[in-house]
C-alpha cells in the first residue's frame, strides 16, 4: 500500500496518458481531439516534475539558504519549456480548427475530410 502511495504521481501520469489516448482515438469532434492532446501534454509535464522530487526537500529557490536537501530544479525548467511549447501548439491547432470550420462548416473529423487517397 505504501508502494502505491509513494508512486501516486506516476500512477496519475499513467492514468492521464490512458485517458488522453482514449480521447484521441475515439472522439470525432476536432476540438475534443485537441483536448486529448492537451491532456497528454499535462501528463508528460506532471511526469517531469514528479521525477525531480526528493523526500524532505524544499523548493529550489536560491534564497532558501544553505539547506540539507532541495528538490531538483532542472526538471522544473524542462517542464516550463514544455508548457510554453504546449501553449503555442494548442493556439495553432485551435486556429486551424477555426479555418476548417470556416471552409467546411463542420467540426467533425469524418465529415470535414476533403482529401482522400
Amino acid at each position: 500500500m505504501s508502494l502505491i502511495l509513494q508512486n501516486m504521481p506516476f500512477l496519475a501520469v499513467a492514468a492521464l496518458i490512458c485517458v488522453s489516448l482514449y480521447i484521441m482515438m475515439t472522439q470525432r469532434n476536432l476540438i475534443k481531439i485537441v483536448m486529448g492532446v492537451t491532456i497528454f501534454q499535462s501528463a508528460v509535464n506532471l511526469f517531469l516534475v514528479a521525477l525531480g522530487y526528493r523526500s524532505d526537500g524544499v523548493a529550489p529557490v536560491f534564497t532558501s539558504g544553505p539547506v540539507e536537501l532541495m528538490v531538483l530544479p532542472v526538471p522544473q525548467a524542462l517542464t516550463l519549456t514544455s508548457i510554453v511549447i504546449g501553449v503555442s501548439t494548442t493556439a495553432l491547432m485551435l486556429s486551424l480548427i477555426i479555418l476548417i470550420y470556416r471552409h467546411t462548416g463542420e467540426t467533425d473529423a469524418e465529415k470535414s475530410r476533403r482529401v482522400k487517397g
Binding site: 492532446v37 517531469l48 501548439t89 491547432m93 486551424l96 480548427i97 479555418l99 470535414s112 482529401v115
Partner: protein, 521 residues
C-alpha cells in the same frame, strides 16, 4: 577567421534565428529589401556551414559550449559531468547541415517569384527561416532536450507553412494533421528524455551514453525515441500524414519540408548509433529499421502509381526513397557488433544510406519544384489535363529529366551511385532485400515515365498554347538543385570519400563521440 571557425557551430543556428526576427521589421518598409535580406542571410548561413564543414573534416569533432569561459570547456573544473548546453558537430552533422543550407537557399530563391501573389509574405519568410533554424539545431546539437526544442520549432513552423495558403481547405487540413502528429511524437520524445534524466541525471547525449547501463527503462526509452522519430520522418506505418501535408505546401517550401523529414531521420540515426551503440540488441533494432525501410519503399511506390495529382505522386515517392535510406543504415546497424562485417559491408551500407539522403534532398527537391512550376503556369496539378509542355517550358522539362533519371537510378546519375552501394551491401545480409529494392526502383522508373509522358510530351493542348517559361528566380532555385545533382553525379567518388564516408565513420565511432565531450574537456 579563427574566431569564425571557433564560433561557427552556434553561428549556423543563430544567423537564421536573428534574420527571422529582423525580417518583419524590414518587410514593413520595403518588400524588395526584405527579399534581398532573406537571401543574403541564407548565403551567409551557407558560408558559415562550409567553413564549419572544412574544419570538421580536417580536425575532427568540434564542440561548442554555450555560455562557458571558453568554447571547448565542456566540463568545468569543479564538476565531473557537463552542465551547460553543448553543440557537438561531427561528420554526420556537417553532411546534413550542408544539405539543408543548400536546399533552404534554393527554396528561398524559388519562393521570391512564387509567393508574390500571396498576402502575408513577411510571415512566410519568417516561418521559412525558423524552419531552417529548427533543422540546423537538430543537426548540430549534442543535447537531447535541445533536440526536443528544435524539433518543436521545426514542427510548428512546418505546420504553419503547410497551412499557409488558407484559402485551400486541403492545405489547412494537411497542416492540422501534421501538427497533431508532430505534437504527439514530440511528447513521446519528451517522455524518453524524462526517463533518461531520472536515471542518469544528464541531458547531454555523450554524458548519457557514457553512463548508460541498458536497463528496462532504457529499452522503453529506445522504443519511445524510435517511434517518435520514425513518425516524424514519415516512415511506414506512420506515413499517412505525409501526402496530405506536403502536397499543398507553398511552392518553395516543399524541398525544405522534405529536408526537415530527412533531419528527423538523421536524428534517429544519431540516437540509435551514438546514444545506444553496441549495448542494445543490434539484430532486433537493425531488423526493425530494415523492415520499416522495406515497407516504406513498397507502400510508397505502389501508392504513387495510382495518383493523378503530380505533386501528390512525387510526395509518395518521398516515402519510398526514405525507405532506401532506412534500409541502408539498418543493414549497417544490424552488423555493427561484428567488426569484420562492418569493414566488409556495414560501413558501405551506412555510407550508401547517408549518400542517398544527400542525393535525395537535391534531386527530389528539384522534382518537387518542377511539379510546382507546372502548377504555377498551368493552374492545375492534374496529370490528365496536362500535355505537351515540353515545347513551352524547356527549362522545366530539362530539370525534370535530370531529377527523374536520378531518382530512378539510371547511370550515370547520383541516384544510381547511392542505390548501387545499398544494393551491394544489403545483398550480403539477405539477397531478398536487394531484390525488393530493385523491383521498387523499376516501379519508380515506370511512375516517372508516366509523368514525363503526360506532362511534357505529346501534342500541345490548345488551352496551354500561350504558357511561357517560369520566372527567373524559379529557374535559379531549380538550377541550384540541378547543379548540385549534376556535380555529385559527375564526381561521385570524391563526394563519397570526402563527405559521406566521414559521416558514416562518425556514426560508427561512438567512443570518439563520447570522448569529445567527456574525455578531457
Amino acid at each position: 577567421m579563427d574566431a569564425l571557425v571557433l564560433h561557427s557551430p552556434v553561428l549556423a543556428v543563430a544567423i537564421p534565428l536573428l534574420a527571422a526576427f529582423i525580417t518583419p521589421l524590414i518587410g514593413r518598409m520595403n518588400a524588395r529589401a526584405r527579399d534581398t535580406f532573406v537571401i543574403a542571410s541564407l548565403v551567409a548561413l551557407e558560408f558559415v556551414v562550409i567553413v564549419l564543414a572544412r574544419d570538421v573534416w580536417a580536425h575532427g569533432i568540434r564542440v561548442y559550449t554555450l555560455g562557458a569561459l571558453s568554447a571547448s570547456l565542456t566540463i568545468p573544473e569543479t564538476h565531473m559531468v557537463p552542465v551547460r548546453l553543448i553543440l557537438e558537430v561531427d561528420g554526420l552533422g556537417v553532411l546534413m547541415a550542408l544539405m539543408s543550407a543548400t536546399v533552404a537557399l534554393a527554396g528561398a530563391i524559388y519562393s521570391i517569384a512564387s509567393i508574390r501573389p500571396e498576402t502575408g509574405q513577411d510571415r512566410f519568410y519568417t516561418l521559412l527561416l525558423l524552419l531552417t533554424v529548427g533543422m540546423m539545431g537538430i543537426q548540430l546539437t549534442g543535447d537531447l532536450f535541445n533536440l526536443f526544442v528544435f524539433l518543436e520549432i521545426l514542427s510548428i513552423s512546418g505546420a504553419a507553412l503547410a497551412a499557409f495558403r488558407t484559402r485551400f481547405v486541403d492545405a489547412v487540413e494537411g497542416g492540422f494533421k501534421y501538427l497533431i502528429v508532430s505534437t504527439v511524437a514530440a511528447l513521446l520524445l519528451l517522455m524518453a528524455i524524462a526517463l533518461f534524466y531520472g536515471q542518469y541525471n544528464a541531458l547531454n547525449i555523450a554524458a548519457i551514453s557514457h553512463a548508460m547501463q541498458y536497463t528496462v527503462l532504457d529499452k522503453i526509452a529506445l522504443a519511445l525515441l524510435a517511434a517518435a522519430l520514425l513518425t516524424k520522418s514519415g516512415a511506414v506505418p506512420s506515413h499517412w500524414w505525409v501526402p496530405d501535408t506536403y502536397t499543398p505546401a507553398p511552392a518553395g517550401t516543399s524541398p525544405i519540408m522534405y529536408a526537415s523529414s530527412l533531419t528527423c531521420l538523421a536524428a534517429l540515426f544519431r540516437v540509435v548509433f551514438s546514444l545506444y551503440g553496441v549495448q542494445m540488441s543490434l539484430a532486433t533494432v537493425g531488423w526493425l529499421i530494415i523492415m520499416a525501410g522495406v515497407l516504406s519503399m513498397f507502400v510508397g511506390v505502389t501508392m504513387a502509381l495510382r495518383q493523378t495529382d503530380i505533386k501528390r505522386l512525387m510526395v509518395y515517392h518521398v516515402i519510398s526513397q526514405e525507405g532506401y535510406m532506412l534500409l541502408g543504415v539498418g543493414v549497417g546497424l544490424a552488423v555493427l557488433g561484428d567488426p569484420q562485417a562492418v569493414a566488409a559491408y556495414g560501413r558501405e551500407a551506412i555510407a550508401g544510406g547517408l549518400f542517398h539522403v544527400i542525393n535525395n534532398a537535391f534531386f527530389k527537391g528539384l522534382l518537387l519544384l518542377t511539379g510546382e512550376a507546372l502548377l504555377f503556369r498551368l493552374g492545375t496539378r492534374d496529370l490528365n489535363k496536362m500535355g505537351g509542355m515540353g515545347r513551352n517550358m524547356k527549362w522545366t522539362c530539362a530539370f525534370f529529366l535530370i531529377g527523374a533519371l536520378a531518382i530512378s537510378g539510371v547511370p550515370p546519375f547520383n541516384g544510381f551511385s547511392s542505390k548501387l552501394m545499398i544494393y551491394e551491401a544489403s545483398y550480403h545480409l539477405n539477397p531478398m532485400l536487394t531484390i525488393i529494392a530493385l523491383i521498387v526502383s523499376v516501379m519508380t522508373l515506370a511512375s516517372f515515365t508516366k509523368v514525363f509522358q503526360s506532362a511534357f510530351t505529346g501534342p500541345p493542348l490548345p488551352e496551354y498554347r500561350d504558357v511561357r517559361e517560369v520566372p527567373l528566380s524559379m529557374k535559379i532555385g531549380m538550377g541550384i538543385l540541378a547543379t548540385a545533382t549534376v556535380v555529385i553525379s559527375l564526381f561521385p567518388s570524391q563526394v563519397v570519400n570526402g563527405i559521406v564516408y566521414p559521416a558514416a565513420d562518425a556514426l560508427i565511432d561512438q567512443a570518439g563521440y563520447v570522448s569529445a565531450v567527456m574525455g578531457g574537456g
